[in-house]
């Protein structure tokens, strides 16, 4: 346990000293300022004669645009932050000194994973809360189901984190980054196939989409979050970029949890066998 804490402290110290935390916070703060300015302008210069329902839909869409940007930033952070955590240290030789100590290799992987997970969770939570507060303060719009959205988007980052850590135990940094973004892109494409299948009544396409979501469940988590974040009329009936006629089930959430844990276990096994 003491070794795990030492690896966690080392990882956090490295993130802090390399100014990675600062860069992430600066980017996040920059985004929130731009978002706040845009919402302020849109809110104060819109036509006062709009019907209340229309205003409500516009505000909801603005909120979802902000959260979509946060989602993309979470994905980027979840991939970029840990992408060279293991492969980079193997390539540079740093890992040789560390792994020759009386520390289990699984503890090295787990210690790094935990710190990166805390970073991703804190970043996602801060950004979502930031977007929600910007909307609340400027427009008075109140967003329901925020904690659930935080949980689902953090879980999405967790799945990606596990995939990247596992890739780092076997691949070079560049190959790992490419595969991680490919993994995410496949999930997005799978989500589209599923939506189109549902809209067209094509059960084959729907099954293919669901199968892809099982292999790469990240997009399903975002779509589940979208379903919770907007009224049913908007999420399942209206035709907006955030509509989702097929809502991923609760079972998919548990599958994503098992997927993240399973891939993390696989990464510890791969790293334990890796020549350093």
């Amino acid at each position: 346990m003491q070794n795990l804490l030492t690896i966690m402290q080392l990882t956090f110290l490295e993130l802090r000293r390399r100014r990675i935390v600062l860069a992430a916070l600066a980017c996040g703060a920059g985004f929130l300022m731009v978002f706040a300015a845009a919402i302020y302008l849109l809110h104060n210069f819109q036509s006062p004669s709009r019907p209340l329902l229309q205003i409500r839909i516009i505000l909801q869409l603005q909120m979802l645009v902000g959260l979509y940007a946060v989602n993309l930033m979470t994905v980027t952070v979840a991939v970029m932050l840990p992408v060279d955590a293991i492969s980079g240290e193997i390539a540079s030789g740093v890992m040789q000194t560390l792994a020759s100590k009386p520390v289990r290799r699984a503890q090295i992987v787990l210690g790094k994973w935990l710190i990166y997970w805390l970073m991703i969770a804190a970043y996602t939570t801060t950004m979502i809360v930031g977007v929600v507060l910007v909307m609340r303060v400027i427009t008075g719009f109140s967003q329901p189901h925020v904690p659930a959205a935080v949980g689902l988007m953090t879980l999405q980052g967790t799945v990606l984190l596990s995939v990247v850590v596992a890739g780092g135990a076997r691949l070079t940094t560049i190959a790992n980054g490419m595969i991680a973004f490919g993994f995410y892109s496949v999930a997005v494409v799978g989500g589209w196939i599923e939506q189109i299948g549902v809209m067209m009544g094509d059960s084959g396409a729907r099954y293919v989409g669901t199968a892809i979501s099982l292999l790469s469940p990240t997009d399903a988590l975002w779509r589940r979050a979208l379903y919770l974040l907007q009224p049913p009329m908007m999420s399942q009936v209206a035709m907006t970029p955030f509509s989702s006629p097929s809502v991923p089930s609760v079972a998919m959430i548990w599958w994503a949890v098992a997927f993240a844990v399973g891939v993390l276990a696989l990464s510890t096994s791969w790293f334990a066998k890796r020549s350093l």
Partner: protein, 311 residues
């Protein structure tokens, strides 16, 4: 591994250790016995499998076949790792740390805590002459400073067995003297030192015993502490005629002239007074008379053979 560690006189033992990466054989068949308390030199040309052998001994690389024991246990046993120090060939560490933080991380991973750890860090930073660099991150260190920090890292837990892979490659002459002194201190404490270095002068000055490896096999082993059996006698005398050279053949073999110096192979340094007496008896003036042992470099070249290409 469970159970008590086996007590053995050897710090390192390997039997038919082999590592193959695909079709490439890095280490073919390594048999080693390194007695406890010795400073042991591990020599060979580039690509001889020295670093891979060290990695197998440290549990960083799994052998394809064969067996190894360190301090009586299998490589990778955590109780053994807590008693081992390691300075890798290309020492790298998280360069955002200071030397003290580096030593603290490694000390904690070795099971050290609190006051004893901090006192050990103070001692080692002073010993490797880095006490005044505590405000610097490792990325601001010179190559030599990094190597000294790495050396302190290897010694943080006062190990019983230390692997030093090219410990002086980045050091200036003063740094090399420091490493030599540290190795001497380790020897006095009874620590086993496993030294891999291309600087044969350093090896000659520090090691008790050396082995030569070629293509992953031990091809020669020799002691550097026992009296050398074969030495060269070198004489500068004022008469270099054939009768003198013929007379000198009675004391040794391979008598030859090199410049104005007569060189002959003798079995022992004990023969030198006899040569001096004979020369004086012949009325030959002696300008210089001495012996020279075969250097480690000469041994290296001879053992590796003419087929060895420069690395």
């Amino acid at each position: 591994m469970t159970g008590a560690l086996a007590m053995t006189d050897n710090a390192i033992e390997t039997r038919a250790l082999r590592k193959q990466f695909g079709t490439h054989v890095a280490v073919a068949d390594l048999w080693l016995q390194v007695p406890r308390g010795q400073v042991f030199g591990f020599l060979g040309p580039n690509g001889a499998g020295k670093t891979t052998s060290i990695k197998m001994l440290l549990g960083l690389v799994a052998p394809t076949s064969g067996d190894a024991r360190l301090l009586g246990a299998a490589p990778g046993d955590h109780r053994v790792r807590a008693r081992i120090g390691f300075l890798p060939e290309h020492f790298r560490f998280h360069d955002c740390l200071t030397a003290r933080e580096l030593l603290r991380v490694h000390g904690r991973l070795q099971g050290m805590r609190g006051g004893p750890l901090e006192r050990r860090i103070d001692y080692l930073l002073a010993r490797v002459d880095l006490s005044d660099t505590e405000h610097l991150y490792l990325r601001q260190f010179s190559k030599g400073m990094l190597q000294r920090a790495g050396l302190a890292q290897a010694l943080i837990a006062a190990p019983e067995l230390v692997f030093l892979d090219e410990p002086t490659s980045g050091l200036d002459p003063l740094g090399r003297v420091l490493v030599r002194e540290l190795i001497e201190e380790l020897r006095e404490r009874g620590t086993t030192v496993f030294l891999n270095s291309h600087l044969l002068g350093e090896v000659e000055a520090t090691c008790d015993r050396v082995i030569f490896v070629k293509q992953g096999c031990v091809v020669h082993e020799m002691s550097l502490t026992e009296p050398e059996q074969i030495v060269s006698a070198e004489l500068r005398i004022d008469r270099l005629d054939s009768a003198t050279l013929e007379g000198l053949r009675g004391f040794g073999r391979d008598v030859r002239l090199s410049g104005g110096t007569v060189i002959l192979r003798v079995d022992s340094e004990a023969v030198m007074p006899e040569i001096a007496r004979w020369l004086v008896g012949q009325g030959i003036a002696i300008h210089a008379l001495g012996t020279r042992r075969k250097s480690l470099e000469e041994w290296f070249i001879e053992v590796m053979g003419a087929d060895q290409r420069p690395g």
